[in-house]
């Protein structure tokens, strides 16, 4: 895992991050931080993590040169990091596995998680089944409606899925409810957080577990393309897949890092989930300080995205820090642009991408034609799109039975 300068001992990435939680959770987070530090230094723990990644998750995930799509776009060569080929179909399993191993190490018998699109819920239910733990997943009632295949997958894996009907009934409310469960059952329960956000140490440990994505790219790109890419592109909701592929590239200053947020119906409409690209101000939600979509009163506002996994008003603190330091750039892709990229990848490469990942693909499609044919874009294809076929069909006016 990469050696990092951030966060500091209190979990700060510059002025972002920290730990803003009710007193009852403070000692649990302290225990987690200490145990994680020990685990990270424990060769046996890390060996087991990598063993599970190799033999259970199926890593390393390949990098694929999307030649037909690149030719069609007529510019830069697009390479895809195939996180969609992981067990359970997305990058979420990397961190869920790491956290489940930590939970077991800490003697916790029950794990809980929040989920938006359901990918993190499925990953958590999967590792819970793998290690024989009780599992409860909190999911917004609206997300349950739009991601029904993943709800059934979680149930098949033995998890209890609890519908969250408070607030906007999406990811942020699922996170609130998971936190409430944790505060109530703090001694027996491990909270497997789905993204590189939340109170310290979560943004750090999720990043570290996800950094395997970028670490593999560091040796795969020279092998396949002869060199590192000119830019790495990844979608950003909370930002775990993006930080996972970005972080190992921080040491390569010539590689541009581009995070793609959900532009929803367009930044101008206010109906989006792009706190970084829209220039939102900083705020505190879910235990950390970062850029946050909020109104003039400091109330968190409802977000919109065609993809449930990006439908989140905040963003991981390390991304806020990378934006301010200008090491990474953040842009937004609208629903319709993401859908176009979704269809293009299906038709030109035979890959059905997740709607979340389609935002990163759409950004590559925007950039590639402006670039030379020997330029290289590396896109993190963070998940597969089987879960999204109902949404895509509905948008096309087709009813699947």
């Amino acid at each position: 895992m990469p050696k990092e300068d951030v966060p500091d001992s209190r979990g700060y990435f510059g002025v972002y991050g920290g730990s803003f939680v009710a007193e009852t959770l403070v000692s649990a987070l302290e225990d987690l931080k200490n145990e994680y530090q020990r685990a990270r230094a424990d060769k046996q723990f890390m060996a087991e993590f990598h063993h599970e990644l190799k033999h259970y998750v199926g890593r390393p995930s390949p990098v694929f040169h999307a030649q037909r799509w690149s030719a069609r776009l007529g510019g830069a060569q697009i390479y895809l990091k195939r996180e969609d080929l992981n067990h359970t179909g997305a990058h979420k399993i990397n961190s869920a596995m790491g956290q489940a191993l930590l939970a077991r190490r800490m003697g916790k018998k029950k794990v809980i998680a929040e989920t938006g699109a359901g990918q993190h819920g499925v990953a958590t239910a999967t590792v819970a089944a793998r290690f024989g733990m009780e599992c409860v997943i909190y999911m917004g009632a609206d997300d349950i409606a739009r991601q029904s295949p993943n709800v059934f997958r979680m149930k098949l894996l033995g998890a209890t899925v609890k519908a969250v009907t408070s607030g906007s009934r999406t990811l942020k409310d699922a996170l609130n409810e998971a936190m409430r469960d944790w505060v109530t059952n703090v001694n027996s329960t491990f909270y497997i957080l789905g993204t590189a956000a939340g109170p310290h140490p979560y943004p750090m440990l999720v990043r570290d577990f996800q950094a395997v994505i970028g670490e593999e790219c560091l040796w795969q790109m020279p092998e396949l393309a002869g060199r590192q890419p000119d830019a790495v592109i990844a979608c950003v909701g909370g930002g775990s897949n993006a930080i996972g592929i970005f972080h190992p590239y921080l040491a390569h200053p010539s590689v541009r890092l581009i995070g793609v947020e959900a532009g929803g119906k367009g930044l101008g409409t206010g109906q989006h989930a792009a706190p970084l690209a829209s220039g939102a101000s900083a705020g505190v939600l879910h235990g950390f300080r970062s850029y946050l979509m909020q109104n003039a009163d400091g109330q968190v506002i409802e977000t919109h995205s065609v993809s449930a996994g990006l439908d989140y008003p905040g963003v991981g603190p390390e991304h806020a820090w990378l934006k301010d330091s200008r090491r990474a750039e953040y842009v937004a892709i609208n629903d319709d642009e993401a859908l176009q990229a979704f269809h293009d990848l299906c038709r030109f490469e035979g890959i059905i991408p997740a709607l979340e990942s389609s935002h990163a693909l759409a950004q590559a499609a925007k950039m590639a034609p402006q670039m030379d044919k020997d330029a290289i874009l590396l896109v993190n294809l963070s998940g597969r799109g089987d879960k999204d076929i109902n949404t895509v069909a509905q948008l096309a006016g087709i009813t699947l039975s």
Binding site: V21, E23, T24, D173, Q299
Partner: protein, 266 residues
Amino acid sequence: MSRIQQTFSRLKAQQRVALIPYVTAGDPDPQLTVPIMHALVSAGADVIELGVPFSDPMADGPAIQRASERALLHGVNLKLVLALVAEFRTINTTTPVVLMGYLNPVAHMGYQVFAEQAKNAGVDGVLLVDNPPEEHIAKVFKPYGLDSIFLVSPTTTEARMQLIASQASGFIYYVSLKGVTGSSSLNLDEVEQRIPLIRAASKDLPVGVGFGIRDAQTASAIGKFADAVVIGSRIVEEIERSSREAVLDNVQSWVAEVRKALDAQI
């Protein structure tokens, strides 16, 4: 001496336990908040905890979540909450008011701006659930005479207790259970053992106990060893289930009953 200190020393001299009811500002609507506050005082409240509604009340159970949502539907914001306190102060200048809520609306207004306006409105103390002592906001509030109320929980370590005590003023709020507001399980023995330790660490700041107190009997049992009893969700439920016409009477008579039980043990 702050209004909160005055209140606790008066009660100590009378050997009485402070009763601290919580209501969410703007619930069921902003017009009723000040009348409800006066009704609480008539029923025997010594300090009022006034909730500042927030879109994401992570530490609250369903009752206060719903109260928050009702208030937000009426467009209640921090500015209006301060205006309501100022309105309350035109009649009542003695009962301390503590604002309880989450960090973001206060941070968004700006700590200094908030502190100044809160002071001018007649606020006495501030409890921000998700604001840990590590952030040292208490020192911003102190010059304005605002007490910083902190939560201590069953999981708070000894060392951390010292850190909290070094910043806390007014009183310390002991969260009597692991969970969100309004939960039902409460361990009386644990509370009894813990309170002397908190008093010792905090140089005898009064200790209030809350989260999970739902009836006069429990309040009375807690009152045997705590300096104050905080009741929130149960009162918020009373507001929720009352008609607009009956809400003042219902809240007043429920709180008066608790007051009676607390005073009966002197």
